[in-house]
Each structure stands twice: as C-alpha cells, then as structure tokens.
C-alpha cells in the first residue's frame, strides 16, 4: 500500500496550462524520450527499448493488466509484411473515463509513447481507435496529431533518422465490444466488431492478417516516463507487482468525482475519503466497484486495508480492471444496480457466441422480473447457474464480464436480493 501519496506529483497529466499544445509540451521536456531513442539507436536499440519497458512492468491499463513490454516482445521478426500498432481508446466500460483526460490534457505524451512503441516493434502504421461518443476529444486529439506531423515527429525519416511511421485516428460507432482488442481490429478493417478466435494472436495475425500489437492509451502514455527515467525509477512508484502512476476515475456517490492521478496501490479508503472528498451528504459507504462494471463489487466491510493494485484487490475478491471506481452509498439499491449492469452487457454483447448472446439477455430479463417484484428465490439460483453457463465458454471476455457482477453482487448482497423475491418468501414461510 502506498503511504506517502500526498506528496505525489502527477506525471501523466501534470498541472501545466496548455500542455496539449506541442510547444508547451516540448518546453516541459516533451518528445525528449523519443529524441533520445532515435538519437542513440545503439544504446536504444529496438530490443533494448522493449527490454526496458518490459523491466518496468507497465501493467496494461485497458483492463487485463498484462506487462506491456512483454506483449511487445511477442511480435515476430520483421519481414516484408506491414506491421501495426492499434491504440485502444474505445473506453466504453461503465465507470471508465480516464483515457479521455489524456486526449484532452496531455495527448502528446500518449503520441510520444505510441511512437516509441512503434520504433521498438518496427511498426510502420499506428491506428488510434477512439470511442465514437468522444467526438469532441477525437477532434482535439487530431489537432495534436497534426502538430506532431508538422513538427516532424510523425512521418517519413523522423528527426532525420531512418525511422518512418504514420498515425491515423479513427473512431467507433458506439459499441463496447469494439474495445475488445480483436473486435477493434475487425472494426478497424471496416467490419462488424466481432472478436476473433485466438489463436492466432494479433502479434501473428492482426490487422489484415499482419503482425499487430494492441495497447491502451494510458498504457502507452507511461512509456516516455520509462525511457526518460528508467525502469528502476518506474518500479519505485506504486507497490510491488503493480507499479507506475495510475489514472483513477472515481464516480458515484462521492463529493468530488473525477480523474485523479496517483501511484498504483493507493489505499482505497484514502481515494474515496480524501481524494474524492468522501461520500456525498455524509452518508455511509456501502459498496465499491473497483475497476469498471465488470469487476466484482466489494462490500464496504471488504475494503478495510485494501489498496488499488492487482494483488490486494485479488485478495479482497475483485480486480483492478481499468481503475474506474464506482462508489456507492448506503441508499444504493443493489437489485437496481445489478439490473443496470446486466442491461449494459445485454445491450453490448456482439452476439457471436451462444452463451453470451442468449445468456446476457436472459440475465437481464430475470433481473427485470426481480426488480419489478416478481422474482422468486429460484431465480437467484438460476442467475447463479447461468454465470457458470457463460463463464469461460466464449470467444472474448465479455461473457465473463457479464457473469462476474451477477455472481458477486448476488452472493455478496444475497439478503437484499432475497428480500426482493417476495413471492417465494411468502411461499416458503
């Protein structure tokens, strides 16, 4: 657990006015990392860059927490095929809204990270895929890209080196599933966002069948920090096993919702009470969804001593996800909450896999029944059984993401659910 967080100075989104402008960014050391790498390609060979990033263990901020540099090392040796970096800014998981702040306040940090990644993996084309509802941020981001092109950070023979890369921005049409990495690849190819069966993995067969790496926006924004300061320095931020700065998106019943940057491993209660100003209206905390709607909900009594890092959250019975924390006070109706979550996943299932396509709909419909007071105890057991019918049996993790909240919300708040299943309460009595 991080103790000294109060003295932490933001690194991803420092409080510098107009940092989104390239001149301001450069004045504050921007593009230094990229210059360093391109300027000394002996020291910063492609392999060395990858090794450094791997040693830093930037855990993927898109939700799965995979070591960024390790993922890069899966790319095959260059051949005559094109190679792609697909940057995931789809950000559609309920409770998650942190990449948006990077697009708005520090887009060049991400661009710089993406460029270094492209260099390290000999990539010639970068795609940035942004959530469609973020059209204002797409526009802002495109201005930043244009500036970077003008300054010669993107394009041919960048900074007089032999490295060339292009960057294209594109956006989705409102589907959560296009944030799943292979769903995104299909979408980028202009197809329906149907996630692909793996293997083959994107590094082998990604965009148009060519080697491709997919990283989250925030993940890549960490890369220049690692190059500038070294893996060891990066490892000193946060806690063992989960390092570096994290953008915590805090929403729900707090006084000051928002995106806050602190090290990984922040004490959960400090984030809620100090950073986000405590529970609204002086109410009591009831529950927390720590990392986006798919991560298992934790009761207030499960949060004691828990910190926002993968180990601590796993021990507590949940996951880090995207660090999009949804805070709920004592008035929150867990049945309503769970219905709303099942509604989301029902709405967003792409519909390929039977367990997900039909399971998500069934989950929601049973939740509606319970919510409307027509539930029976057997419905709860049915819901729990359905989570088994869905989990681990589909092409992508959306079915798991839909099943977990059901399983954990019901088991962790069973009384509340049973109380709503009036019918059988009477029948049994």
């Amino acid at each position: 657990m991080v103790e000294d967080w109060k003295s932490y100075e933001p690194l991803l989104i420092p409080d510098i006015p107009n940092l989104h402008k390239i001149d301001v960014y450069e004045d504050n050391g921007g593009y230094e990392a990229f210059r360093t790498v391109l300027g000394d390609q002996d020291k910063w060979s492609r392999k060395n860059v990858t090794e450094e990033v791997k040693a830093a263990n930037i855990r993927g901020r898109g939700g799965a927490g995979f070591n960024c540099g390790l993922k890069w090392s899966f790319m095959p040796e260059p051949d005559d095929r094109p190679r792609y970096l697909a940057c995931n800014g789809d950000e559609s998981e309920p409770g998650t809204f942190k990449d948006r702040n990077i697009f708005e306040f520090n887009p060049h940090l991400f661009i710089e990270g993406a460029l270094i990644a492209a260099y390290a993996m000999s990539i010639d084309t970068i795609y940035v895929y942004v959530r469609g509802e973020y059209i204002d941020w797409v526009n802002k981001f495109e201005e930043a890209v244009e500036e970077a092109y003008e300054k010669g950070y993107i394009g041919n023979n960048i900074l007089d080196s032999d490295f060339s890369v292009d960057l294209h921005t594109t956006y989705g049409a409102g589907a959560y599933i296009c944030g799943e990495e292979t769903g995104m690849l299909e979408s980028l190819e202009g197809k329906r966002g149907y996630p692909r069966v793996k293997p083959p993995f994107p590094a082998q067969k990604g965009l148009w069948g060519n080697p491709t790496t997919i990283n989250n926006i925030e993940t890549l924004a960490n890369v220049p920090l690692v190059i500038n300061n070294g893996a060891e320095w990066y490892q000193s931020i946060g806690v063992e096993g989960h390092t570096g700065p994290v953008l915590y998106g805090i929403s729900g019943h707090v006084n000051k919702p928002g995106v806050y940057e602190y090290p990984a491993g922040m004490p959960v209660m400090d984030l809620i009470n100090d950073v986000a100003g405590g529970i609204r209206g002086g109410k009591k905390l009831k529950a927390l969804i720590p990392g986006g709607a798919s991560t298992p909900i934790l009761r207030a009594d499960q949060l004691e001593g828990v910190s926002m890092d993968s180990n601590s959250l796993r021990e507590a019975g949940s996951m880090m996800g995207t660090a999009g924390m949804v805070v709920m006070d004592e008035d929150t109706d867990m049945v309503d909450l769970l219905w709303r979550i099942t509604h989301f996943f029902h709405h967003e299932s792409c519909g390929q896999c039977t367990p997900c396509r039909d399971g998500t709909g069934w989950l929601e419909k049973v939740m509606v029944k319970i919510k409307n007071g027509n539930g029976e105890i057997k419905d709860l057991d049915l819901l729990l059984d359905m989570t088994t019918m869905m989990e681990g049996r589909t092409i992508c993790a959306l079915a798991d993401a839909a099943a977990w909240p059901v399983r954990h919300t019901i088991t962790r708040f069973r009384d509340e659910f049973e109380a709503r299943c009036k019918k059988s309460v009477h029948a049994v009595a």
């Binding site: 589907a175 039977t354 396509r357 998500t360 049996r393």
Partner: protein, 578 residues
C-alpha cells in the same frame, strides 16, 4: 508418429487437424452447428465443447511424466475448448461428452441457451426432420427449459431475394450463410445486422440476395431460418424419398439428390462430391425439377393431317415408325443424337440405326460462350457433350445440321430441343418426316410427325460425361406407368411409397408418366422390324460400350457408385474442357 488420446483411446495423426473434424473422421460424434468443413471456422456457436489437456512430457527423456499412482500426468487447459478450433498436438488428451461430465454439461447448457429465444415451431417448420438443432437437442439437450421470461421477436417471412425466405427468429446466428456468400459464392450479399440477441442475417439496404448460388444457404442453415421460397411448406421431409442423381442443366454434372413424393420431384439438393461440386450447386439446377414433372411427353403422339398432333397407342406408334423406316433406305435417314441425353441412349440409338444402314449419328453441342462462371455454372448447357464426343458421334455445327436436315427424308431426334435453342427453325423440320424421342413436349417435339415419349434422368439409370471428362450416373427416382419400385431394386422407397395406400395423401397413380426408356422402345421396334438387336437395360448397354470403346474401358455402374463417378482418360483428343 504424434498421438492423441480421445475418450481414453489412442489415435495417431499426421499433419494439421482440428479436433472436431478428426473426431468425426474416426466415426465418433461431437455436436456442432457453426462448423462447416468447406468454410472458415468462427467457433461462435460454442456447441462443440470438449475438455482438453496435455500429457506432460519430460523434456529430457521425452517420456510422459507419471504421478505417484503410475498414471500419466495431465495438464488440463483452464477452459473448455471448442473442438472445431482446437488444433491437435502430440500428447493431447480430449474428453468428449462421452467421458466428461463437464463437456456434457457445457453442451447441454449451450442447447438450453440456443432454445430460449428460438420459436420452437417445429410442427410448421420446413427444416423439421432434417434439423441439426432438433436432432442435437433430442440427443444432447436438457430435459426442459428454465426460461420463463419473454422471447426476443424478430422479422419473419423476409424475402431476402427471389429464392430464399428468412425467418429471423429461428436463426441461431451461426453465420454459415454469411460466410457462404463471403467465401464460396463471393458475392458478399449477406451480413449479420444488429447486436447481441437481436441480431440476424440480412442483405445490405435495398439489396437483393440474388446470388446464383443463394439456395445453398438453405441447405447449410442448421435450422429453419433460411428456407427455399419455392419449396416452403410443400412437403415434410419424412414423406419424401431421396434418390441420388446428376444435375443435367449444365456441363458440370453436380451431384444431386432428387426428393420425390408420389412420383413427383419436389426439390433438388446437392450431394457432396469433393471431385465435382463439393457441397454446392447453382440455383438454376434446382429448378430443373419442374422439367421432370411438368409438360412431359406422355403416350406417343402422331401428326395425322396438317399440324395437329394427337395421342396414339404404343402399337400404332411402333407400326408407324417401322413403316416409315421400311419405306426408306438407310441413306435417307438422319439420326441426331443429343448432348442432353445419356451415354447409353446415344449409343443405343446410333447402333440401332447403324444396323439399318444409316450413317453415324450427328449431334450439336449446346454451348453459350461466356455463360459460365468458372465455378459450377458452365458455358455448356448440356450434361453429356463429352459423352457424345467419346462415342464418336458426328459433331456438327448449326449450319451443317440444318443442311443435313434439309437433305434427309427421315429425321430422328433424340431429346434435344433443337428448335427451342434455335439450331433449326420449326419450319426446317416441315420437309422431312421427323420422329422425336422426347421427355418433354418442347417446340421440337411439337413440330415432329411422331413423338415417342421416353424416360428422363429422374426415371432411369444412365450415365453422363461432364466437361471435365468424369462419367457419373443417375438412378430412377420416379416410377413410370410401366415400372414399380418394389420390383426395381435400383429404386429407393420412402415411407409412403412402401406403406402408403390409396387412402393416404400423396399416394396416387397420377404422376406416373406414360413413357419408356429409349432402349425398351428400340427393343420393341427391332422385334417388329425383325432386326437382330436386343438390350436389357442401360447397364448392359454400358457393358457393351465399355468393351467396344477404349475410353470407356472398365467403366461400370458399380465402379461409378463406389467412386462417385470415374474420371475418363483425358488424353483422348475428343475431350474438351469448357
């Protein structure tokens, strides 16, 4: 050799194999829907779940590691695997529903989920009886359903195009139809629209599903979502009778099945033959069933005076035929064989008239340049052009044939609509005595002086040589007035054929055509003429051909049946591929 262990049995394998296909190849079963051996593997139905793992091998010794009980150690994969997309590895262990309760449970769960939004309208669904969803539900599905909430509703009776109708509620979203138009017919006319449990296949806005192969999607749709607009609600599959045959509408010779009920062909579907048509056939070939039922030449007819034909008796037809022949010398008789008729018919006819002193039969190929698509639709509009060539019939172009007709006193035409396909005009036939052996009352038959009705491909066993030189044969599917299923061992019997009585629907004499196989008629004619000619059956004709003509050496019905057709020697100059 690499080995795998499936349900505790050891199997060796070589090369790349996916578990599902490998299991099916061993004659075992795992239920599946979306997988199709000729298309990409989307693994989306999740029906083919198996439990899988890997025996652990010691890197150094290469031996399997053993546990304390001396059993091989297994590393199970953390999740169930879809066997369709599971590549076999050396030392892999697979447990299907036969040996793994987990696999059995997963398969049952998937079926329960597939059915929650399915309308369960089997009693009125065309697919019932041949429906993978129905069959696999009975076999692997749950006893009942726990689904007590509302089903999703979707569009019904959507005419996707001229030949295919969609009931989106029945769709299980396996994407076979979409993949067919992407990967096989390459028209890309179908896609899935909408998301999650609301999705269904559809054409692009304002687009029609008029793919020339569209009806193959009806065959591969594992439920009754895609139905043939033409066949819809016409028959229950279990009332029909299925007979293997050959598509005679073009030169490819797609292998097909004729589906009959009460001696009417009700539909045609492709029959798999890797060497010819795989699982597919063009839509055009499917509408040929009408030719077998409608507008048939039934009872001989004769032109008495003027242009009016009227039916006559077989005796009178034979007598008239014989008198005409007797009144002319062999030189006066022009015999026209047909690429639309079988090898046996062309051979028998030619031989018969050779014996009478007529010169070799001619034939005119029926080819439309540019009509073919390089896949299963060919320029050649006839099923047996190469058969005629290999029989050494005299290949004659339109002009020469018209000249020959104008010089002949008697003209014998074997089922070929020369008038309809504009080789000659009806008036060209006016100056000669024209005798047509006809399956259908075509313009040519109607313009003839004497029409001898003969059996069509649906009524006889006969062979055809396709554009690639492959000889394949038909089986009798329909009875004629003179045949009986119970006596003809080549004919299959459906439930109604076997047990139906005249009190049943779909049992009648109505659809039996009054026609004879060409060779039967020639026997009768030979007897009347006192000619030394007799053949029993197309089988004996083929035996004769096979000993007389080298290209047909060793060709028999039995061999064709065993090998799904026989590739004839292509070195022969006469074979043309078009």
């Amino acid at each position: 050799m690499p080995e795998v262990f499936i349900d505790n049995e050891r199997y060796e394998f070589e090369g790349d194999h996916m578990a599902l296909q490998f299991i099916l190849d061993q004659g075992m079963e795992v239920p599946f829907f979306c997988y199709h051996p000729s298309m990409s593997i989307p693994a989306n139905c999740r029906q083919c779940m198996v439990k899988a793992g890997q025996y652990i091998k010691d890197d150094e010794t290469g031996e399997y590691e053993l546990d304390e009980n001396g059993e091989r150690k297994i590393r199970w994969f953390p999740k169930m695997q879809t066997s369709c997309a599971l590549k076999l590895q050396d030392g892999m262990v697979i447990q299907t529903q036969e040996t793994s309760e987990e696999a059995e449970r997963a398969q049952k769960d998937t079926l329960e989920l597939l059915l929650i939004n399915h309308p369960l309208d089997c009693p009125i669904c065309d697919q019932a009886g041949e429906c993978p969803l129905q069959i696999q539900t009975y076999k692997y599905g749950p006893e009942g359903s726990r689904f007590e909430v509302k089903k999703v509703h979707k569009p019904k009776r959507v005419e996707l195009g001229p030949r295919v109708t969609l009931d989106a509620e029945r769709c299980i979203n396996c994407t076979r139809c979409v993949r067919f138009t992407e990967e096989i017919s390459e028209t890309n006319q179908l896609t899935i629209v909408s998301r999650g449990d609301k999705n269904y296949p559809m054409t692009a806005p304002n687009q029609e599903f008029d793919d020339p192969y569209s009806m193959n999607t009806v065959d591969i749709c594992p439920v009754g979502a895609l139905t043939s607009t033409d066949f819809r609600f016409k028959a229950r599959v279990w009332e029909m009778n299925q007979t293997p045959s050959i598509d005679i509408t073009n030169g490819k010779g797609c292998n097909i099945d004729l589906w009959t009920r009460d001696n009417q062909v009700l539909r045609i579907t492709p029959r798999q033959n890797k060497a010819v048509n795989d699982y597919w056939m063009p839509d055009e070939g499917r509408s040929a069933y009408e030719l077998f039922n409608e507008n048939r030449a039934s009872r001989p007819s004769i032109k008495l005076d003027g242009s009016n034909q009227s039916n006559t008796s077989w005796n009178n037809a034979i007598e008239t035929f014989a008198e005409t022949i007797e009144a002319h010398s062999g030189d006066d008789v022009l015999v026209i064989g047909s690429p639309h008729a079988s090898v046996e018919e062309n051979y028998a006819l030619n031989k018969f008239f050779n014996l009478l002193g007529a010169s070799n039969a001619r034939f005119t190929p029926h080819i439309i340049d540019g009509y073919g698509d390089g896949f299963l639709i060919t320029d050649d509009q006839a099923p047996n052009t190469n058969g005629c060539r290999l029989l050494n019939l005299n290949e004659t172009d339109h002009k020469d044939l018209a000249t020959a007709i104008s010089k002949a006193k008697v003209c014998i035409i074997l089922s070929d609509n020369l008038v309809g396909r504009k080789v000659v005009a009806a008036s060209d036939l006016g100056n000669t005595y024209t005798i047509s052996f006809a399956t259908n009352m075509t313009e040519t038959a109607k313009a003839s002086d004497l029409v001898i009705p003969i059996t069509c491909v649906a009524e006889h066993a006969a062979s055809y040589v396709n554009i690639d030189g492959r000889i394949q044969r038909s089986f009798p599917a329909k009875e004629t007035k003179y045949t009986n299923r119970r006596l003809n061992l080549e004919m299959s019997e459906g439930r109604l054929d076997r047990y139906g009585t005249n009190f049943d629907n779909w049992v009648s004499e109505e659809h039996k055509v009054d026609c004879l196989p060409l060779w039967d008629f020639l026997n009768k004619l030979a007897e009347r003429l006192g000619l030394d000619y007799h053949v029993n059956h197309s089988r004996t004709i083929l035996a004769e051909i096979s000993s007389a003509i080298p290209s047909f050496e060793n060709v028999t019905f039995e061999k064709m049946d065993e090998q799904q057709g026989i590739q004839l020697n292509l070195d022969n100059q006469k074979i043309k591929q078009k």
